[in-house]
Symmetry: C2
Subunit: 427 residues, 2 copies
């Protein structure tokens, strides 16, 4: 762990720098897969599934029977946990619904704004050693609440050509409409172009490895939107002397276990806390099953001592963490002052794990400093805002002269004429 004491603002950019990922080397591969999926559809999907996932499938659509079987394979206790998480996530995201907003800006000029669902969305759920069913909750629940008509989910099959029962169970519970056993670049390509079995979608959500990241970037060139640019997950904890060092250490470690490139930072105004956390991390690390990988991320982690809360907050805003835990006797100072963070966790009893799974907030959040300009996934991510306006004869009389003057000054005479004709007809 790197200990840094009172760095000057000049040192911040270097200190807070994220590792840069060079993804150019895999762009060629990704483009190749896109071309083939675009040209050959399902045939190309099956080819790359065999090549990359090592399994020969004849059909990659999940059957109702597979979903039925999954229900019996997920332990009752876990089913109940997933249901409770679903309930909380639903509550928080349903509350984000907004009503149409009507404003009569002038007499006879009525303007309104309404949100309507993105009709077709694609969700990507990575494979790997464990089934990330929690991400299905985070994406399919708001998609469903938003009213998206088609909710397509792609996830790579295992060596037996199957999806994990927890994935199937959760996808079915959350109203996914098309469930497909396809992963990686070929899944993103499939949802971008559409194939015989995979519906084309308008926006793609979800995490993934570097191949998926590059594929999502490439998808935007083919007019598909994506949730946000991706980077390694991050946690920054601010803890003063009111924090419990063993809790703080457990949070830092929970971030570190995501992978060797996880970003883990403690900022504190208490030298004692810094030392205690360092000790606790070492101690707790010993008993973790993912010890080796977790230790790697911890090696690169930073413990930063700051003189004042004010400079600590400025540093945190400059970093713009994905997850920000704050345990401070002056928590309101941080809550009110934080400008750039994906999600904020407040107090000793609010571990990041709570938001990762079940408190109700979304865990798909901006990494890599993108909290400066991007929102995490929320209900609006599945909607688009449209405006409407209706002007009557009185309205165009009130507004017409203004439009004519402005259009003329911009040299747009046909724009002016569209108003002049109407005004003339009302004389």
């Amino acid at each position: 762990m790197h200990i840094i004491k009172n760095p000057s603002p000049k040192q911040w950019p270097d200190l807070l720098k994220r590792p840069t990922q060079s993804l150019e080397s895999i762009e060629t591969k990704v483009e190749e897969v896109f071309k083939e999926v675009s040209a050959k559809g399902d045939q190309a999907i099956l080819k790359y599934t065999q090549l990359f996932d090592g399994v020969a499938l004849s059909n990659f659509k999940v059957t109702p029977q597979e979903i039925e079987e999954a229900k019996n394979l997920v332990p009752q206790e876990l089913q109940q946990a997933i249901q409770q998480a679903k309930e909380n996530i639903t509550k928080f995201h349903a509350a984000q619904r907004t009503k149409p907003l009507r404003v009569e800006t002038q007499n006879g000029v009525e303007c309104w704004q309404e949100k309507r669902p993105i009709q077709k969305v694609g969700l990507y759920i990575p494979g790997g050693s464990a089934p990330l069913f929690s991400t299905i909750l985070m994406l399919a629940i708001p998609a469903n609440l938003a009213g998206c008509q088609e909710i397509v989910l792609c996830s790579p099959p295992n060596k037996e050509g199957k999806l994990d029962p927890a994935i199937l169970y959760t996808a079915n519970l959350c109203g996914v409409t098309n469930l497909l056993k396809v992963g990686g670049i070929q899944a993103i390509a499939g949802m971008t172009f559409g194939t015989e079995s995979i519906p084309q979608v308008y926006k793609i959500f979800g995490p993934g490895n570097q191949f998926v990241t590059v594929a999502k970037q490439l998808a935007t060139k083919y007019n598909v939107a994506i949730d946000m640019p991706a980077g390694p997950s991050e946690l920054l904890v601010f803890a003063d002397e009111t924090a419990k060092a063993n809790f703080v250490a457990s949070d830092l470690l929970s971030q570190a276990e995501h992978g060797a490139d996880s970003q883990v930072i403690l900022v504190t105004t208490s030298e004692k806390m810094l030392q205690e956390v360092e000790k606790e991390v070492k101690k707790q690390l010993e008993s973790l099953p993912r010890k080796q990988m977790t230790a790697k991320a911890i090696q690169n982690s930073k413990l930063i001592l700051m003189n004042t809360e004010k400079s600590a907050l400025a540093l945190i805003n400059a970093y713009a963490p994905e997850h920000f835990i704050v345990v401070s006797k002056n928590e309101d100072f941080f809550i009110n002052g934080i400008q750039n963070a994906g999600s904020v966790f407040i107090g000793n009893y609010t571990p990041e794990s709570a938001g990762d799974y079940a408190s109700g907030t979304n865990h798909t959040l901006p990494t890599n400093g993108f909290a400066k300009q991007y929102s995490g996934v929320n209900l609006d991510s599945f909607l688009k805002s449209m405006t409407f306006q209706k002007i009557d004869a009185t309205g165009i009389k009130n507004l017409g002269k203004t439009i004519e003057l402005m259009a003329e000054a911009e040299g747009l005479h046909a724009h002016k004429n569209a108003v002049s004709l109407r005004l003339k007809s009302l004389e």
Copy 2:
């Protein structure tokens, strides 16, 4: 004008295809300018301003004196028109403010969502034959309402090294904080990297030619967000026999005068209306100053007759127009059924020009079919949504078991441990 009668859904994709822009040829040039601006700052900006805009400047920051002078150069009548437009746009965008949203998802688990401003934004206003001051209203007003701290505006200088007085007047009126005489690729590069004179920004807004479009795309590779991908402007009008053909024609022409690549479409269920509109367009075209260019876009325009309102609506949703004017005895059918459109204009007295300038809605809208997944610019475009959560001892007791079960099932033991430690401390 191309007349198409009752095309079958199979023909729609070809019929509704936008012209594809190949921008790859200019990518190299754009990358070159980015590299040089990144390395040499203001020096590179001045070099490219001389090269591309043909003017040698020693300083490209607008001075308070220039702004003061502009006030005297903009006709009083136009100033008043701009002020009225500002008032309406302010009313409509201020109404879009949302309050923090608090939900106690379970006893002791409090979650909330709050929107906070993107601290630094950049607005690009193209040059050309006429000053597009209306776009300043559309971008700077919501930026200001959102509370963005730095609102940087770049616009290319004319041959005398100046900005149009209407640009200066409007920018000053709408609270732009940094006003710079720099255009094209070098402006986007400057706002992406920051230079001695140009602040680095987090998100770039605004229209532009193909060089600006490619530069904005490239900016996203350097972690800057953009408002939306760009394409030629579009208008689709649905008019039945209750529409006035001369009004419809004037709207189609106002779209066509934007440029030869403008997309202009009429959809109607009335053969008579189709014929009348065709006649009116030819008639009105004769008296327009931009006749030649407008005629080019009109040549490529489409007049589509559909058998039923239902099929007309389906076609319109498949196209996803930037601007959608509907004049119909069944307007509610279209208002309720439109799923994909940037902005909707309803009835005989609602020309697109109204929304372009002064009704209150925003004119920065998704083109190229992006209305399927993107919102037009609105107040939220200048904010990001952050979530917060605070869990107390009761809350973690209520929620803890659920998190432990889910974390364990995903193989994330440190995530589980962060909860277990807290639960144990409360036993």
